[in-house]
């Protein structure tokens, strides 16, 4: 049904030409694309998007001779969407990703993280370092304090996913995928014209949108938060890693602003390249997908030249 809805979107098949694949991971059906050959690059999205977010990032990577794997997080995109909030946990999503990587036996992997793809992908990388060659971070976080002042505010963030309000706004009205993403790109007309329908189509009904209000509830706001210990562990592990890292950030990102968040990643990973600022708010791939693909390709080419493992 969802795949049919996507196929009916004008121009969709020109933008998303990649073969659909499914794999059972950690008890769930995960959808992913797997294109090209060479050292693999894993592109991880967050809330409320899916692999489509990376449609313009993928071609430059393929042209540079990389294998590109783009999973849809369980609960998003074309992957299975559990019906109960209790089916989702940060550790569970990390395990989902670990299951995919191990079954595909990906090695010398570059993990590219955005939004919730950060806490999940970076945690995977820190617990499976022997499979990982490099990291790329974009508009995300990896520490237990609130990610942004925005996330502590009642309006519009905390009230948006409050008990009953979350299921109403994000479930009945799909406000995060519809209005939320729209407000978080720079070129809104282009987004509405070229992308909005593809994000709507994969979240067609109330039950399919569950993770859009569940993820916000996993953001630690104080030391009683469910994910507090995992984020504390992640931050400590990242501080020890020497994995080559690239930081890319949206110049216009007001939520995860570069001055705070890219700078904190740079402090945590002082050997990292960047931050490279590109045109973009939180969903920077919508405005600068090709440029991001080229930045990652160039970064990996430099690693090749340096004989990086």
């Amino acid at each position: 049904m969802t795949a049919n809805s996507l196929a009916n979107i004008e121009g969709f098949q020109d933008k998303w030409r990649f073969a659909s694949r499914d794999m059972r991971v950690n008890g769930w059906r995960m959808h992913y694309v797997d294109e090209g050959a060479g050292d693999p690059v894993l592109l991880l999205h967050g809330n409320p998007t899916w692999g489509f977010l990376y449609r313009d990032v993928i071609p430059p990577l393929l042209e540079a001779g990389r294998r590109v794997v783009v999973p849809d997080m369980i609960g998003f995109g074309l992957s299975e969407k559990p019906a109960r909030e209790q089916a989702h946990s940060l550790d569970g999503h990390i395990a989902n990703l670990t299951g995919l990587v191990r079954q595909l036996d990906l090695r010398r992997l570059t993990v590219v993280c955005h939004d919730w793809g950060g806490p999940t992908g970076l945690s995977f990388a820190m617990s499976n370092p022997e499979r990982v060659r490099a990291l790329v971070v974009m508009s995300t976080w990896a520490w237990p304090t609130p990610p942004a002042e925005f996330h502590t505010r009642l309006f519009p963030w905390r009230i948006m996913h409050a008990p009953l309000v979350g299921p109403y706004l994000l479930g009945r009205h799909n406000v995060l995928a519809r209005r939320g993403v729209y407000l978080s790109v720079v070129d809104r007309d282009k987004f509405r014209r070229e992308a909005q329908a593809a994000y709507d189509a994969v979240l067609p009904d109330y039950e399919t949108r569950l993770l859009t209000w569940t993820w916000p509830r996993w953001i630690p706001l104080d030391d009683t938060a469910r994910a507090q210990a995992r984020f504390a562990w992640l931050e400590a592990e990242l501080a020890k890693t020497r994995l080559p890292t690239l930081i890319i950030w949206g110049r216009e990102d007001e939520v995860f602003d570069a001055a705070t968040f890219a700078a904190r990643f740079k402090q945590l990973l002082p050997h990292a390249e960047g931050p490279h600022l590109v045109t973009g708010r939180h969903f920077l791939q919508e405005d600068s997908g090709h440029e991001i693909g080229r930045l990652i390709s160039a970064f990996l080419a430099r690693l090749d030249q340096q004989g990086g493992t």
């Binding site: 109960r84 909030e85 209790q86 009642l154 309006f155 519009p156 905390r158 009230i159 948006m160 996913h161 409050a162 008990p163 009953l164 309000v165 979350g166 299921p167 109403y168 706004l169 479930g171 009945r172 009205h173 406000v175 519809r178 209005r179 939320g180 509830r217």
Partner: protein, 131 residues
């Protein structure tokens, strides 16, 4: 927006309960759970009966509280519109009612949660019932 009132168990003859909103984690902010416990005397009556409210359209709604082992009660909530047994829902009317019920909840939970904040959020996201 606060034209929602608690009512006694309405006459059930010729009606059905139609599920319109679910909340798996009522205690995400504990003050929300406390509001329902206080309003419907749940520490005393527990799971013995739902709570009932009447919303602006005149429809009655059943609030079915959910218990989960190891968590404070109630852990979840299901909201059912009580409608004519064989008639389809008026979804637009139900949506407005739910928005009114949310206002009643937020008003009852109290500071720092305010109806004005809820309304501003509804306007930001262009919720039909809020604009």
């Amino acid at each position: 927006m606060t034209d929602t009132v608690v009512i006694a168990n309405p006459e059930a003859g010729g009606t059905r309960r139609s599920l319109v909103l679910t909340e798996d984690r009522l205690g995400h902010y504990p003050e929300f759970r406390a509001f329902f416990a206080r309003t419907f005397d749940l520490d005393r009556i527990a799971l013995s009966e739902p709570g009932f409210v009447r919303a602006p359209s005149g429809l009655a709604y059943a609030l079915v509280f959910i218990g989960r082992s190891g968590e404070p009660f109630p852990s979840g909530l299901e909201i059912y519109a009580i409608v004519d047994a064989l008639e389809p829902l008026d979804d637009a009317a139900v949506d407005k009612d739910l928005w009114a019920i949310l206002g009643w909840v937020i008003g009852g939970v109290g500071a720092p949660w305010t109806i004005e904040t809820l309304q501003a959020t509804g306007r930001l996201y262009r919720i039909p019932a809020a604009v």
